[in-house]
Amino acid sequence: MIEYVDVHKAFDVPVLSGVDLTVETGETLSIVGPSGTGKSVLLKTTLGLIVPDRGDARVDGQSVVGASSRELQQIRRKVGYVFQYAALFDSMTIFENVSQGLPDDVLETLDRKEVVRRVCRSLEDVNLDPAQVLGKLPAELSGGMRKRVGLARAIVGKPQILLYDEPVTGLDPVNTAAVEHLITEIAEKMGVTSVVVTHDIEGALGISDRIALLDHGRMRFVGTPEEFRGSQDPLVVAFADRHAAAAAALKIMEEP
């Protein structure tokens, strides 16, 4: 379970202004909202990559704020993070990149064959052919393949929680559907808790147990996809309906 308790964060201007949210074990929750409302910042507080100015993020009851480096290490072992642009290590091959997802103490106990086997299995789990990609550098892969390698790196250590930061940004519709299918498949197969930050509302409604709408640093809506679709909140309506969003955007542009 992940709990965000009264999370505040400012970078010159306030980004998060008292976010409260609980993600239950095993559920898939998508966080949507306008650009710059702090969705990725909230996600990064889960691992202590960004420290809240006030409030706390807790993973299975363990506080991130004030955690020692050993405690942070324990939290990070439970969590896999899929970055917006995959954040693969440029100078390493795909094999080396994915094997980085195995904790040091696990790596020390495994022989090379077993490491290769685990890396290959993770790549297969994300529908990549290990024989084709293992020896390549990230720059030699397409954007969609890089995202899938990022996902393979996140799952190779068998985490209990997966955090996705804009997993489909910049992908064509075919790759978008493939990545969204993978998110659902991995959640079911591994039984992980998933938090997905996304702009793709259609995809979010398809893969999520619950949707959270973040606006101006606060949670504006949290509910099931059905509740989201049925909401009368103008911002939720604008997000749920692309045509309504376009009309709202036009209205804003026409305002003097």
Partner: protein, 264 residues
């Protein structure tokens, strides 16, 4: 009167901003050095990573270091020869070249080469990793960027720099000796006699001590500036430029502190 007060206030504000910036960087450098020392003493730094960085910094920098040292030795010898001819015994040129190269030109010119070839690259490399979230990725995978990225680069700098300065001193001295013979006709024996006249063994130790300090400060600043990088490609460019300026000034200031501290 108002103009004077406003100008004074502006100057004080600027001074405060600069002091705050210097204090922030000094604190950051101190903390980084402490974390690297802790990781090293705990035996958490991979020897392979240090060796890879030493190869990058040392072996691949060798040609440029030698060319720079040879040219420094040749120029010092030629200018000394031009000034000494028919005024001072020419064998004194050996001492001028030897002391000039070993005490000053060898360490400083090598440091400038390493700033340009290695320091700038380290800042750009780590800065790019920072803005493309690769550093965050390391942290999310439970790996400490200080242990994985910073410590090998700093340790390699400390090990490699004295070796490079040793090579630069030898190359500069030899080039100066050859140039003295070619330009003013000073024989090798006379040159070496002159060089030995004012020679102290301490001079070599002083030269290598400078090299070690430069080998510590150049990677430290370049890593620190890389980790601080924000703001995409433009941010990487800004950080790299600032880092090079910061490293050059630091090396020159430290160089100026060495004679009063160690040559009395």
């Amino acid at each position: 009167m108002r103009v004077v007060v406003a100008t004074a206030k502006g100057a004080l504000r600027s001074l405060g901003r600069i002091s705050l910036g210097v204090a922030r960087h000094a604190g950051g450098l101190g903390l980084l050095a402490w974390r690297i020392a802790s990781a090293t003493l705990a035996g958490k730094v991979g020897l392979r990573a240090v060796a890879d960085q030493a190869y990058e910094m040392g072996v691949l920098s060798l040609p440029l270091v030698i060319v720079t040292a040879v040219l420094s030795g040749v120029v010092t010898s030629q200018q000394g020869g031009y000034q000494f001819t028919s005024s001072i015994p020419l064998y004194v040129l050996g001492s001028v070249v030897a002391e000039g190269v070993i005490l000053e030109l060898g360490p400083v010119m090598t440091a400038i080469v390493i700033i340009g070839r290695v320091g700038a690259r380290v800042t750009a490399e780590l800065g790019t990793m920072q803005v493309s979230e690769q550093i965050d990725a390391l942290l999310s995978l439970g790996r400490d960027p200080v242990r994985v990225l910073a410590a090998p680069r700093l340790l390699a700098g400390i090990v490699v720099m004295p070796l490079l300065v040793g090579v630069a001193n030898t190359a500069g001295l030899f080039a100066g000796m050859v140039a003295a013979r070619a330009t003013v006709g000073l024989g090798y024996e006379a040159f070496l006699y002159g060089a030995s006249l004012f020679w102290h063994n301490w001079d070599l130790f002083y030269s290598l001590m400078k090299a070690t300090v430069f080998g510590f400060i150049i990677p430290l600043i370049s890593i620190h500036m890389g980790f601080l990088t924000r703001g995409g490609a433009e941010g990487v460019g800004r950080a790299t430029t600032a880092s090079v300026v910061f490293m050059i000034i630091s090396v020159l200031v430290l160089d100026a502190l060495f004679p009063p501290l160690f040559l009395n």
